[in-house]
């Protein structure tokens, strides 16, 4: 509806005789056909929105029947908890029959009992089985043959389908009345008259009454009952427009063009039961039937799923697990002082595990890890330096378990590290413990399909993750649906913050295209639609590594469908739904830094012949800790972020334990829980006065919080606090942790708050104090690391810093090869490394490998960029070039390269433009790249008329010398570097701009000597910008100039004023005030401007230019725009999820 329309036309009741309207008693209608947004672009509300609204409208039971999936079924069932609605599960299934030219049709299936659920899951699995014949294209629409459904009908109730596409009504619509009736007869025969119904709908279309009369007549002939359904697609009127727009998105058309596919009105918005009953006044028996049906549909996903984790049926499991653990305990703890404690903990853990029947679960993990070991050995090879490394590392709470340590699931000794077991395992856990395993990316890639193989494709699958609309995607999709000009859409999409909330879109639009355009009817619609779409799932994809394993075929429990990546399959539930189902989930996570440290260790061995065993490096290396305290941590794990670097000089870590706290401290939980400042302050007091006594809120908290100086930093401390202060049992405390960590549990958290305070008061704790502690707990709200997780991460942070300190070039090289990862773009990593004296060499056709490499001669080890960094060059081309060089020797000159490398003209030009042909040119110096491009034009012949390369190879003749071409100036070189490799290694762009900038700008190295509160103006390349959700609208920017980086804090009023520059400028000019706090220096901005770039070079660049620009054609843009277009995008962070 347009905004100018306020009134709502309610669907009026049916009237055969207007003088005698029939009425149904209120509450006598149950909705048995409804779609959520999990019908992907054919539903516009979240399951929870539907459940809540249905409860408000007075529904007592409600069925969710998404298209060909049950992705939202568990979420819906959980959302119904405690609001008086009984959830019913089902799906609208797309079915095909083998009659010639027959189109697929829809049937509504509802689950009566557990057998029905299994059958539904099997049918949905079958529907998706063939949807990914090609890995690189969109999936085909799912469907099952009618025969499968007829066979698999036990426990299911079948309705004849919707008004438009239903088996009967849809076939009538298409003029296939006989086919519709014959399908109905088949369904009647298979399901029987008890479980087959003719479905009546009132979409408020012109032929509704006639169609329903005809359907009712058919029902009578078949001897089955009719049932009324609403075919709900949205919970609220506001979403009706979005439904229309989604039709256009789905059909890749505009709203105008999608008219035939659209519904034509808003009748699919959820209406009160009385209104629904009134719509079917002609068919009161169909309305009554909804209630009868609902009475029979008693299957409840929260209760009746019947999942058992693998191994739970093995009677030998307890003994086997104990045996493995005892054997390994002998090895690991022989002769140590931890041995008695380790034995005690092992006994205790084995007892708990036995009690919970989880021995099989641990054996399975053990087995899985052995599998990982095999895969790792295959990938690394017998001689690799990496063979010393474990195949993966545990993270998360499992690290606290001695059983996990002994079975190899974790590499952290929990006894030595003093880790608390409670969260992972206790006598009353309601949810399977999670086991998270981090693997280097290459091992993980191979391991996942291997797990599918080992446990069978029916028993192992990845967890789903649903891609949800954020503002940028919504503007793109919905703008297109509205037929808005693509140029405008891209301008808006370009400035919409990835993480900005829906309510900010309107302002973004006005900034991008001007207030006038933004006020047009269509752009106003776009803004409104984008706001409504925010957070709705758009399609299913795979979770990064969560796997579900099952003893029973998974496809009896949850449908399984192929993922986009070949050889992988996903269940239709996300991690929360899997957890609600109690599924055993293992996270096999790919961690870029693990891959990077592995590569680093390998290249150290290659370049220096040194074998590093990272598990044996000293954990008290003074140089490493000096670097950490000085925040010299660019590129290392976790403690490289802006926030971490700001804190390190204040927290001054001195031990690995300090690093572990540090890693956990910069998380939303501790930040919102108010842990950061007390921790930093108490550390400072302790440094100044070793006798300083750390204050604790209550004496009972001292043993729990002593490691973190009285602050709640780790997630498990929340559990311990709840147990110590409020007397929670381990299970209750774990329930509290769960309530904090999930998105759908505000009410649960409040309930825990009351119990917490009451429990504490019972134990004689002052009420105000108890409330204050609970506030800290609530502020923590789950987004924190358990200590065990922090221990695993802290160790990796330390190890990577150690590598940075002692093997800088190798770590840098590894980071280049593992991109994208970490906080800084490669260009910044390179500049920072150059500033500390590490040589980074450009791409060179005679020196570079495909990947970046270490060159140990001449001189100190240096990093050589790989051919893979040249944009637009295919990996096979680069490999062929290197292979030919290895076979036939180095390339003598350009002609030799052109004839032997097998590289096309486009690739050769890209190499030349990247400066990779330097060693082949006649002249070096600044005109080299132009010369090479000029000569290549001759070497490879002209371009064909179709713009493609001519197929014939040029003869390897000597090439004439180029004419006297104007050399590239510095700016052109930078543009060429950024356009070709994304990394510029010569003069810094700011250095080049410097002569044209205001003379009294500060440079980054001056900030250290300027007095506190000094006025300062500086210019820089924007390396990162961050708008953390925890920072109340403050934006942080990292500016880089030729001498280093500077932190800029943009307060909200300044952000409001300079939003566009803050969010989009590649180069910025910042004015503000210097702020010095202990060792930390920031510039607090009062102005941020886009830095104007001198355009004196603009015309020249067009003379000879790289292929991409030539093909797209340029319009004489100024140099700034050229550079802005190619400059490495600043990493933007914050407001995730």
């Amino acid at each position: 509806m347009g905004p100018q329309r306020r009134g709502r036309i309610r669907a009026s009741p049916d009237h055969r005789s207007p003088s005698a309207p029939s009425k149904q008693p209120a509450g006598k209608y149950v909705e048995l056909h409804a779609h959520s947004a999990y019908s992907f672009l054919d539903g516009a509300s979240l399951p929870a929105e539907i459940a809540t609204t249905a409860a408000e409208l007075g529904y007592e039971a409600f069925a969710l029947t998404d298209h060909d999936n049950v992705c939202g079924a568990m979420e819906f069932a959980q959302a119904c908890e405690g609001i008086g609605i009984r959830p019913i599960s089902g799906a609208e299934l797309t079915v095909t029959c083998d009659a010639p030219a027959a189109l697929p049709f829809h049937l509504t299936l509802l689950v009566e009992d557990a057998t029905g659920w299994h059958n539904l899951c099997r049918l949905l699995t079958e529907a998706h089985a063939g949807t990914r014949p090609r890995v690189d294209s969109d999936p085909l629409p799912p469907s099952v043959p009618l025969d499968s459904l007829l066979e698999c009908n036990q426990g299911l109730i079948c309705f004849s389908g919707c008004a438009r596409d239903g088996a009967v009504a849809g076939n009538w619509e298409r003029g296939e009345a006989r086919r519709g009736e014959s399908i109905a007869r088949s369904l009647r025969a298979s399901f029987g008259r008890e479980r087959f119904r003719i479905e009546l709908q009132r979409p408020l279309w012109r032929r509704d009454r006639a169609r329903n009369r005809r359907l009712a007549e058919l029902a009578e002939r078949l001897g089955v009952a009719t049932v009324a359904t609403g075919n709900v697609h949205a919970h609220d009127r506001r979403r009706a427009e979005l439904l229309d727009a989604f039709v256009a998105v789905r059909t890749h058309t505009t709203l105008e063009e999608s008219e035939p596919e659209r519904r034509g009105n808003s009748s699919s918005v959820l209406a009160p039961p009385e209104e629904m009953a009134a719509r079917f006044a002609d068919h009161p028996e169909a309305v009554a039937e909804t209630v009868h049906m609902a009475e029979r549909l008693r299957f409840d996903l929260r209760r009746d799923l019947g999942y058992r984790y693998p191994g739970s049926e093995d009677p030998e499991a307890d003994g086997s697990l104990a045996e493995i653990c005892r054997g390994r305990l002998e090895l690991r703890y022989a002769g140590t002082r931890e041995r008695p404690e380790a034995e005690r903990r092992l006994q205790e853990e084995l007892r708990v595990i036995r009690g919970l029947g989880l021995s099989g679960f641990f054996l399975l993990h053990f087995d899985l890890l052995e599998l990982a070991r095999e895969v790792a050995a295959e990938i690394r090879g017998p001689d690799s330096a990496r063979r010393l490394l474990p195949p993966g590392r545990g993270r998360g709470s499992s690290v606290s378990s001695v059983v996990c340590y002994l079975t190899g699931l974790s590499h952290v000794d929990p006894v030595r590290a003093g880790l608390f077991l409670g969260r992972f395992l206790n006598d009353e856990i309601a949810e399977m413990p999670d086991i998270d395993l981090d693997f280097p990316r290459d091992i993980r890639e191979k391991l996942i399909p291997r797990v599918h193989e080992r446990y069978g494709r029916e028993r192992a699958a990845l967890v789903s993750a649903f891609a949800c609309y954020r503002s940028r995607g919504a503007v793109r999709d919905l703008g297109k649906a509205l037929g808005l000009p693509p140029g405008e859409i891209e301008r808006v999409a370009g400035i919409v913050d990835m993480h900005s909330r829906g309510d900010e879109v309107e302002r973004d639009i006005a900034e991008a295209i001007g207030a006038g355009r933004a006020a047009s009817a269509r752009w106003r619609c776009a803004a409104r639609l984008a706001r409504e779409a925010w957070g709705l799932p758009r399609h299913a994809s795979q979770h990064p590594g969560g796997m579900v394993l099952s003893t029973r075929p998974l496809i009896d429990l949850c449908p399984v469908q192929p993922a986009a990546m070949e050889g992988r399959q996903i269940v239709q539930w996300d991690k929360d739904s899997c957890a609600d189902a109690g599924f055993l989930k293992i996270d096999l996570l790919g961690l870029g830094m693990l891959s990077a440290v592995e590569r680093c260790v390998e290249s150290i061995a290659d370049a220096r012949g040194e074998r590093i065993d990272l598990s044996r490096i000293p954990l008290d290396d003074p140089q490493t800790f000096e670097a950490i305290r000085a925040a010299e941590t660019t590129g290392v794990f976790q403690i490289e972020s802006r926030a971490q670097m700001q804190m390190l000089p204040r927290s001054r870590p001195e031990t690995i334990d300090d690093v572990i706290v540090q890693v956990a401290l910069v998380r939303p939980g501790p930040i919102q829980g108010g842990a950061v400042h007390p921790y930093l302050e108490r550390r400072r007091r302790l440094r100044e006065d070793p006798d300083y006594e750390v204050p604790y809120e209550h004496p009972s908290l001292e043993p729990i919080l002593s490691d973190t100086l009285g602050a709640i930093v780790f997630q498990d401390q929340v559990i311990q606090v709840a147990m110590a202060l409020a007397g929670f049992s381990a299970g209750e405390a774990e329930g509290l942790r769960r309530a904090m960590s999930r998105k759908r549990s505000e009410a649960a958290l409040n309930a825990y708050g009351e119990r917490f305070v009451a429990g504490a008061v019972d134990r004689g704790v002052d009420r105000t104090l108890a409330e204050r502690v609970f506030d800290q707990v609530r502020g923590f709200s789950g987004f924190g690391f358990p200590k065990s997780h922090a221990a695993a991460f802290g160790l990796l942070a330390y190890q990577s810093t150690w590598l940075r300190v002692h093997y800088g070039p190798e770590l840098l090289c590894a980071l280049f090869n593992e991109q994208p990862m970490g906080f800084y773009p490669p260009d910044s990593l390179a500049h920072e490394a150059q500033r500390r004296g590490i040589e980074v060499r450009g791409v060179d056709a005679n020196q570079s490998a495909v990947e970046c490499t270490i060159e140990s001669r001449p001189g100190e080890p240096a990093v050589r960029l790989g051919l893979g960094y040249v944009k637009g060059i295919a990996e096979e081309e680069a490999r062929a070039l290197v292979a030919e060089r290895e076979r036939g020797g180095g390339y003598r000159d350009l002609a030799d390269l052109a004839s032997r490398s097998g590289m096309g003209r486009d690739g050769l030009e890209r190499l030349a433009w990247a400066g990779a042909c330097r060693s082949l040119g006649v002249r070096g110096g600044k005109s080299a790249r132009r010369d090479e491009l000029w000569r290549l034009g001759i070497a490879r012949g002209g371009r064909g008329t179709n713009g493609r390369d001519q197929a014939q190879l040029a003869l390897p003749l000597g090439l004439p010398a180029p004419p006297d071409l104007r050399p590239l100036d510095s700016w052109e070189r930078i543009v060429a570097d950024y356009a070709s490799t994304g990394i510029t290694l010569g003069e810094h762009p700011i250095e080049v701009m410097r002569p044209d900038l205001e003379p009294d700008l500060a440079q980054s190295d001056e900030l250290a000597v300027l007095p506190d509160r000094a006025e300062v103006r500086m210019a820089g390349l924007v390396v990162a910008r961050q708008r953390p959700a925890t920072a109340k609208g403050v934006v942080f920017m990292l500016l880089e100039d030729e001498l280093g980086v500077a932190n800029v804090i943009v307060p909200p009023p300044v952000y409001e004023r300079c939003r566009l520059a803050v969010r989009t400028a590649s180069f910025a000019l910042v004015g503000g005030r210097l702020e010095r706090h202990q060792e930390v220096i920031n510039v607090v901005a009062d102005s941020v401007e886009r830095l104007a770039v001198p355009d004196h070079t603009a015309a020249a660049i067009r003379h000879i230019e790289p292929p991409a620009e030539r093909e797209t054609g340029r319009d004489g843009a100024v140099a700034e725009r050229e550079l802005a277009a190619v400059a490495p995008a600043a990493h933007s962070f914050g407001r995730r999820g």
Partner: protein, 76 residues
């Protein structure tokens, strides 16, 4: 010739026509709702009724709430 003409419709409280041009409504054969073009400056919203009148005529009437609730008729 398909252009809608203003019609004199007496409707009940529920919005359903009871009489058109003095002729009583014998039966509502169909009723439907069209909502479209909401993204343009001229959105469309119409409630239609296909009626059988006591005088034997069949016709379609509709109204648009944004149009002051006036009724129009067109051929069935």
């Amino acid at each position: 010739m398909y252009r809608p003409r203003p019609a004199e419709v007496a409707a009940g409280e529920d919005g359903v026509p009871r009489a058109v041009g003095g002729a009583a409504v014998e039966a509502v054969r169909e009723d439907w709702l069209v909502e479209d073009r909401w993204w343009t400056p001229k959105p469309l919203q119409r409630r239609y009724f296909e009626l059988a009148l006591a005088d034997g005529r069949n016709l379609v009437v509709f109204r648009e709430p944004d149009d002051g609730g006036r009724w129009y008729e067109q051929r069935a």
